[in-house]
C-alpha cells in the first residue's frame, strides 16, 4: 500500500499492548484500551496515506470467521435445493433411523434417491418406495452400495466402459463383479441400477427392481438386461420372472445359486461370472459355453499342484475372508457342490451358520463387511486391518490350507490394497512355513484398467508375494477347492470336458 510502512490490528490485551509499546506505538489511548478494544496501528508517511489501509481494515474486520463461498455448506436438504435448484439426485448415507425423513424430503422435492444407509426399518422402505412410485421417481436402496447411472459411479463402483448391458441388482458387489468382467471383454454398461438388499423381500415386493427393469426396457442404449440378487421368496420370484419373460429385451436372471428351474423361459445364470458370460453372448450374438477356468485344464492343475505340494497333512480347509456378502455367498455357491458344507455368517442355509464369526471352523467363508465387524469402523473395502489380523490368525491354524480373498478396486475402495496387504500375506506365509506348512493365498481382483488404483500394479504386487490371482471370484473359489482337495475335485470340475 502506498505510503504505509507497517500495519497491525490487535486486541488491546496486556501482552499485545506491551508488544505495541515496544514497537513505538505509545500514548494514553493505548494505555486506556482494555482487552475488548481493538487497536489498529498503522505507520504511514502522512494522513492521506492512512485512508485506504484504514478502510481496508474496517472491511476486513467486519466479517468474523467468514467462510469462502465454495466451502459454505447448507445444513438441510431444503436449503441445498435452494442453492442447487436443478438437483436431480440425493445421495444419502446418514444413519438408517434418520434416513426416511431425509429421503422423503428428497422425493417431495422431485429428486431421485440413492440410499446407501442401512438399518432402515422395513416399513420405512415400503413407505418410501410407494411415495417414489407415485411420483415416478426411483429409490435405489436402502442398503444400496452401488449404482452406475449414465457412466457416473454412485457409491462404490468401478470405472467401466459404456456399452449396452443394463443391470438391475440387489447387490453392489454383484454389479462390480459383472461389470468388471464385461469390461474385461471389451463390453460395457448402459446403466446399473442398485435396488438395495431388501427390495425383493416379500414385504417390499420388488418395487425398485420392477421400475428398474421398466427403465432399462425403455432405454435405447440397453440391449440386454441382467438381474442380480440372492434367490427371493416365491411370490416375488414369480413376479420378477414374469416381468423378465415378458420383456422386449433378453434378460439374464442371476438368482445366485439358482439354476434353471426347468419350465422357465428366461436365461438363468448361477454365478455372477455366468451372468456376464451370458450377457456378452447376447450382445455378441453368440453363446459361449461355460468353462470352469479361463486357462487350460493342464495349466490349472499344475498351478494347483505346485500350491499344494508343500502342504502338511493337517492342512485341509479353505478360509474365505470377504469384504462383502455377495462374493462370500457366491463362493459358497461354487464351493458347496465341490467340497461339501461351508460355514459362514452369511450362509447358504441356516444350518451352516457359523457359531462365532471371529473363529473359523472347517471350511468357512466369512463376510467381514457384516455388522459384527463393521460397527464403529470403516468398511473392509477401505480398511484392511481386520482382514490382515484374520489372515495371520488363519495362518497360525494348522488346518488352513487356502485363504481366499476378494480385492475390490474402484471408487470408494482403498487407494492401494496391494500395499495394504502384501506384507501381511508374506508374514502369513512365513508363519505357516515356520510350522512346516505352506499357506496358499488365492484371490481375485475386481477392477478395470481405468480404476483409480492401477490394476496392473495391484496384480503385480500381489503376485510378487505369492498370491495366485484368478480372473473372477467364482474361479478363485474353484481353484481353492482344487488346491485344498489336492486335485480330487478336478473330476467334478473337468469331468464334462473330457
Amino acid at each position: 500500500m502506498k505510503g504505509v510502512s507497517q500495519a497491525a490490528v490487535l486486541m488491546a490485551t496486556p501482552l499485545n499492548k506491551r508488544v505495541l509499546t515496544d514497537a513505538g506505538f505509545k500514548g494514553s489511548e493505548v494505555e486506556k484500551a482494555g482487552p475488548d478494544d481493538l487497536i489498529i496501528a498503522i505507520e504511514a508517511a502522512n494522513e492521506e496515506a492512512l485512508e485506504s489501509p484504514v478502510a481496508r481494515v474496517e472491511e476486513m474486520l467486519s466479517s468474523r470467521e467468514s467462510m469462502k463461498a465454495e466451502e459454505i455448506r447448507p445444513r438441510s436438504l431444503a436449503s441445498a435445493v435452494k442453492v442447487m435448484s436443478d438437483a436431480n439426485l440425493a445421495l444419502i448415507s446418514i444413519p438408517g433411523r434418520f434416513a426416511k425423513r431425509e429421503a422423503m424430503n428428497a422425493l417431495e422435492s422431485g429428486l431421485d434417491v440413492f440410499l446407501f444407509s442401512s438399518n432402515v426399518p422395513r416399513e420405512d422402505e415400503v413407505e418410501l418406495k410407494e411415495a417414489a412410485k407415485a411420483r415416478g421417481l426411483l429409490v435405489m436402496g436402502p442398503d444400496c452400495g452401488t449404482s452406475i447411472i449414465n457412466g457416473v459411479v454412485l457409491g462404490f463402483g468401478n470405472v467401466v466402459r459404456r456399452g449396452s448391458v443394463g443391470i438391475v441388482s440387489a447387490s453392489g458387489t454383484g454389479i462390480q463383479q459383472v461389470s468388471t468382467l464385461l469390461d474385461g471383454e471389451g463390453l460395457g454398461l448402459s446403466h446399473a441400477i442398485g435396488t438395495g438388499g431388501n427390495d425383493l423381500s416379500e414385504k417390499v415386493g420388488g418395487t425398485t427392481t420392477m421400475e428398474g427393469i421398466r427403465l432399462l426396457e425403455e432405454d435405447e442404449d440397453t440391449r440386454v438386461i441382467v438381474l442380480i440378487s440372492k434367490p427371493p421368496g416365491p411370490k416375488t420370484s414369480a413376479k420378477i420372472l414374469n416381468a423378465a419373460s415378458g420383456s422386449n429385451k433378453p434378460v439374464v436372471v442371476n438368482f445366485l445359486g439358482e439354476g434353471d428351474a426347468g419350465a422357465s423361459k428366461q436365461v438363468r445364470a448361477v454365478t455372477l461370472e455366468d451372468a456376464a458370460r451370458m450377457a456378452s453372448g447376447f450382445v455378441n450374438g453368440k453363446r459361449t459355453g461355460a468353462h470352469p477356468f479361463s486357462v487350460s485344464e493342464s495349466r490349472v492343475r499344475s498351478l494347483a499342484q505346485s500350491e499344494s505340494s508343500e502342504m502338511s497333512k493337517t492342512q485341509r480347509y479353505i478360509r474365505g475372508l470377504y469384504s462383502g456378502g455377495t462374493l462370500c455367498y457366491e463362493s459358497q455357491v461354487v464351493l458347496t457342490p465341490l467340497i461339501g458344507e461351508v460355514f459362514s455368517n452369511a450362509p447358504l442355509k441356516p444350518e451352516s451358520r457359523i457359531d462365532d464369526a471371529t473363529v473359523s471352523r472347517k471350511n468357512a467363508c466369512i463376510d467381514m463387511g457384516s455388522e459384527e465387524f463393521v460397527v464403529g469402523r470403516p468398511h473392509p473395502m477401505i480398511d484392511y486391518s481386520l482382514r490382515k489380523n484374520r489372515l495371520l490368525q488363519e495362518a497360525r491354524d494348522p488346518e488352513t490350507a487356502v485363504v481366499l480373498l476378494d480385492v475390490v478396486l474402484g471408487y470408494g475402495s482403498n487407494e492401494d490394497p496391494a500395499r495394504e496387504i502384501r506384507h501381511t500375506i508374506a508374514s502369513a506365509k512365513k508363519l505357516a512355513g515356520a510350522g512346516r506348512r505352506y499357506l496358499s493365498v488365492v484371490a481375485s481382483i475386481i477392477g478395470t484398467r481405468e480404476d483409480p488404483q492401477d490394476l496392473q500394479k495391484q496384480a503385480k504386487e500381489l503376485a510378487s508375494v505369492g498370491v495366485v490371482l484368478m480372473p473372477s471370484n467364482a474361479q478363485a473359489a474353484r481353484f481353492a477347492a482344487l488346491v485344498a482337495s489336492r486335485g480330487a475335485v478336478g473330476r467334478k470340475l473337468f469331468g464334462n470336458e473330457r
Binding site: R75, P95, L111, A134, V152, G412
Partner: protein, 61 residues
C-alpha cells in the same frame, strides 16, 4: 409433483446433479468424476439423543 408427468425424463436420461447427505467420500468421488455435487452438513436432530430432545422441547416451550 403428483404422478408421472409425460415430459419428465427418467434419471437415466439426465445429467446428474447431486445433493450429498452423509459420507463425504461419496461427494469427493463424484467431484473426481466431474459431477456437480453439493454437500449438506447434516446433523441428527437434537444430536440424536432422547434426553437432549426433551431439553430442547423445554426450551421451545
Amino acid at each position: 409433483m403428483k404422478g408421472k408427468e409425460p415430459e419428465k425424463r427418467s434419471i437415466l436420461k439426465q445429467k446428474l446433479k447431486v445433493i450429498n447427505l452423509g459420507i463425504e467420500i461419496f461427494a469427493d468421488d463424484l467431484k473426481r468424476q466431474g459431477v456437480e455435487v453439493i454437500s449438506v452438513d447434516w446433523q441428527p436432530p437434537a444430536g440424536g439423543d432422547e434426553e437432549l430432545l426433551r431439553l430442547l422441547e423445554k426450551l421451545g416451550a
